[in-house]
């Protein structure tokens, strides 16, 4: 029997296997961010140290204000302490650190691939659930908890159980105005927020082959919202072209060796998956969420669902609670939902392609809502500015900010007021995620820009078509 892509990478990293199937796994790359700064004094107090500091990369993202450029400009208090804490740990333990003034600074899941820290075939962990993002490059990447972070710091290894294997095949061709975000929302809607629990999900099929690296990262990013810790996609020519010449990627002869190894990293034709799902890519429309779980997603052309139509009493209760929290009425067209604030950013959708997609819609239009555009890294910001995208946003009345997590998690001062409603390119619509009492609708960058310029959820296809002769 053949092996899956996941199995091939896994097998290369097994140091020891217990009789009960638990495995001690070698970790190639460890990423960390400001929220973990307290763990460094903690390991020190236990008489431990960072075992392989050259494999650890830290970047402050959760606590950085998007309105200032240096640590000293952060108002005194826990935000500054958190960012400064990571910087101090990096100096003390000697790991890589991209501080706020460094162009390479940004959201940890944008920075990893951008710097060539993330590469096909590796194992990569970070104390953050959206570490699944990195699997888009064809590696095993998953989020871990704080105790596991300390374990990786001290040993560069982790005890793990091998997840089951799921393959999700997206057939056909994605339509105009449809991208990675719509695909993943359609996937989560189809399999449910716990549908991937216990699995690693490999994405495959013609729609994935045709998808950009950015789109694939969006897809893998939200794999955790379907319950799976890892999403991954076999490396292909696009992956290899993406990795080439990145600062931490191999060079020269080593690059050639790497490429020949990566070429073999795909699931064998006779590999068996524990579960297979197929979705028709041609049928996927631009998606929006209406409830407090990413599984509560629908094409923007539909209406707010009626819990009365649901037969399972538990699901019905969950839907009712969501509608009450979101202040929505069953039967209302989703495109009539009025939006107060638009957030374009987060590790889901803050890469250059996302900025371009939002700018294409914003161009020549005016925002009717408060709109924050937050690039995922200093380099994305620079690139966007070189292309004049910042001008398009500011001319549309949108705010062009410094990189960071920002309103995705509302830990840096960017937040919604109680009851305020957002259209957001982030990955979680949980109650209170964007501030206590906040109401979040998830969607793609193009859809978010469309909501900004109309003031309500809008089918971006109509907006763009309307202008075409």
């Amino acid at each position: 029997m053949g092996k899956t892509l996941f199995q091939k990478i896994w097998d290369e990293h097994v140091i020891h296997e217990r009789e009960d199937g638990n495995v001690l796994l070698y970790i190639d790359r460890h990423l960390t961010h400001d929220m973990h700064h307290r763990l460094f004094p903690l390991i020190k107090a236990q008489g431990l140290t960072v075992k392989e500091p050259d494999k650890l990369f830290g970047v402050p993202d959760h606590s950085v204000p998007t309105t200032v450029k240096t640590v000293d400009d952060i108002p005194e208090g826990e935000m500054r302490d958190t960012v400064a804490g990571l910087e101090r740990a990096a100096a003390e333990f000697g790991f890589h650190h991209f501080g706020m003034t460094d162009d390479r600074h940004g959201i940890v899941h944008v920075v990893g691939p951008e710097q060539g820290i993330t590469l096909p075939g590796i194992t990569l962990v970070c104390g953050d659930s959206h570490t699944s993002t990195h699997g888009a490059l064809g590696c095993i990447a998953f989020g871990i908890g704080a105790t596991e972070v300390q374990h990786v710091l001290a040993t560069q290894t982790l005890w793990q159980r091998k997840p089951k294997a799921m393959r999700i095949t997206i057939t056909g061709t994605l339509g105009f105005g449809v991208g990675g975000k719509d695909v993943i929302l359609a996937v989560i809607r189809a399999i449910g927020a716990a549908g991937g629990t216990g699995y690693a999900i490999e994405y495959a099929g013609p729609a994935i082959d045709a998808m950009s690296m950015e789109g694939r990262m969006t897809l893998c990013n939200m794999t955790i919202e379907a319950g799976a810790r890892s999403g991954l996609i076999a490396p292909d020519d696009k992956t290899i072209a993406y990795c080439k010449d990145r600062p931490f990627a191999p060079k020269g002869k080593k690059w050639d060796q790497a490429v020949s190894y990566w070429r073999g990293l795909r699931s064998d034709d006779d590999a068996v998956f524990d579960h297979e799902v197929t979705l028709d890519g041609d049928a996927i429309a631009p998606m929006v969420t209406w409830g407090n779980s990413p599984q509560w997603a629908l094409p923007v052309t539909e209406t707010v669902p009626d819990p009365a139509d649901e037969t399972d009493p538990q699901i019905r209760a969950d839907m009712e609670a969501s509608l009450a929290y979101m202040d929505l009425t069953p039967g209302m067209p989703l495109s009539e939902i009025k939006i107060d604030t638009v957030f374009i950013g987060a590790c889901t959708n803050s890469r250059i392609e996302d900025m371009r997609a939002a700018a294409a819609v914003a161009k020549g239009r005016t925002a009717k809502t408060r709109t924050l555009v937050v690039p995922g890294s200093g380099l994305v910001k620079k690139q966007a500015e070189a292309e004049g995208l910042d001008k398009i946003f500011t001319e549309a009345g949108m705010e062009w900010r410094e990189p960071g997590c920002s309103m995705c998690i509302a830990l840096n001062g960017d937040m919604l007021q109680p009851g305020e409603r957002s259209a957001s390119t982030s990955n979680r619509n949980f109650r209170g995620r964007q501030g206590p009492g906040s109401r979040t609708h998830l969607l793609s960058p193009a859809m978010a820009a469309a909501a900004a310029v109309t003031g309500h959820l809008t089918d971006v296809r109509d907006l763009i078509r309307a202008e075409r002769p």
């Binding site: 290369e12 140091i15 020891h16 009960d20 638990n22 001690l24 070698y26 929220m35 307290r38 236990q46 008489g47 431990l48 606590s63 826990e78 935000m79 302490d81 958190t82 075939g121 104390g127 953050d128 659930s129 989020g143 871990i144 908890g145 704080a146 105790t147 596991e148 300390q150 374990h151 001290a154 040993t155 290894t157 005890w159 159980r161 927020a193 716990a194 629990t197 216990g198 319950g227 799976a228 810790r229 191999p250 080593k254 690059w255 060796q257 190894y261 779980s293 599984q295 538990q314 209760a317 969950d318 609670a321 998690i409 830990l411 979680r428 949980f430 109650r431 209170g432 995620r433 206590p436």
Partner: protein
């Protein structure tokens, strides 16, 4: 360095149990993001648990199960599907332990939260959706009823004395029963890790 025991071992545990009737209760509910920079050593840390479901913005209590008298003493939760999905924040477990919660019974758990529970001496008990619904119903009907858990035999006794068996990975069970910490366990493999590193580096020369 030898294996340390820094966690309280989990052998048997009995307590008033609390029904939490929320499907997909994500870790943002268990501890809202704005408390993530708060130190678990703070005297009022117990308040962060399910904070926005328990408290109004002025700090007064909402009408929520944990605010009702017999349930305040509950140290076992009976939850619904996908308990602890979402963010990897281990603070969610700290919020549980700050309230003395030692076990959560649910039909399914977020994978990362499940691991975080194990690493902190909190037992995640997986029972079927029907069994969890039955238990929650019984707890609602007889507030203050207890559940007793025996990890060695992997079983628990419900309020009506019915016995339920639950699965748990052998390694996780071993860790919990003995309060073992992983770093201690792993350091015993130091030689094996070193020899792996050498052969791995030779096989994957491109990655250094």
């Amino acid at each position: 360095m030898s294996a340390k025991t820094k966690l309280a071992p989990f052998t048997t545990f009995a307590s008033v149990a609390v029904p939490i009737d929320i499907a997909n209760c994500d870790t943002d509910q268990i501890i809202p993001g704005r408390f993530l920079r708060k130190s678990p050593d703070d005297a009022d840390y117990h308040r962060v648990l399910l904070h926005d479901l328990r408290f109004n913005t002025d700090g007064s209590e909402k009408d929520f199960v944990l605010n009702k008298l017999p349930f305040r003493e509950g140290r076992i939760f009976v939850a619904d599907i996908n308990w602890g999905c979402g963010s990897s924040r281990e603070n969610a477990v700290a919020a549980l332990t700050a309230n003395g919660v030692r076990a959560v019974i649910a039909p399914s758990f977020g994978d990362i939260h499940y691991n975080n529970c194990i690493k902190n001496g909190v037992l995640p008990v997986q029972l079927s959706e029907e069994d969890c619904a039955t238990l929650r119903g019984q707890l609602r009907e007889s507030p203050g009823a207890e559940i007793a858990i025996d990890l060695e035999t992997q079983s628990l006794t419900g309020p009506d004395q019915a016995r339920y068996d639950f699965p748990i990975d052998a390694f996780d069970k071993h860790r919990l029963l003995n309060g073992l910490d992983d770093v201690g366990l792993t350091l015993a493999f130091e030689d094996k890790i070193e020899s792996f590193r050498k052969t791995y580096a030779a096989r994957h020369d491109w990655l250094d």
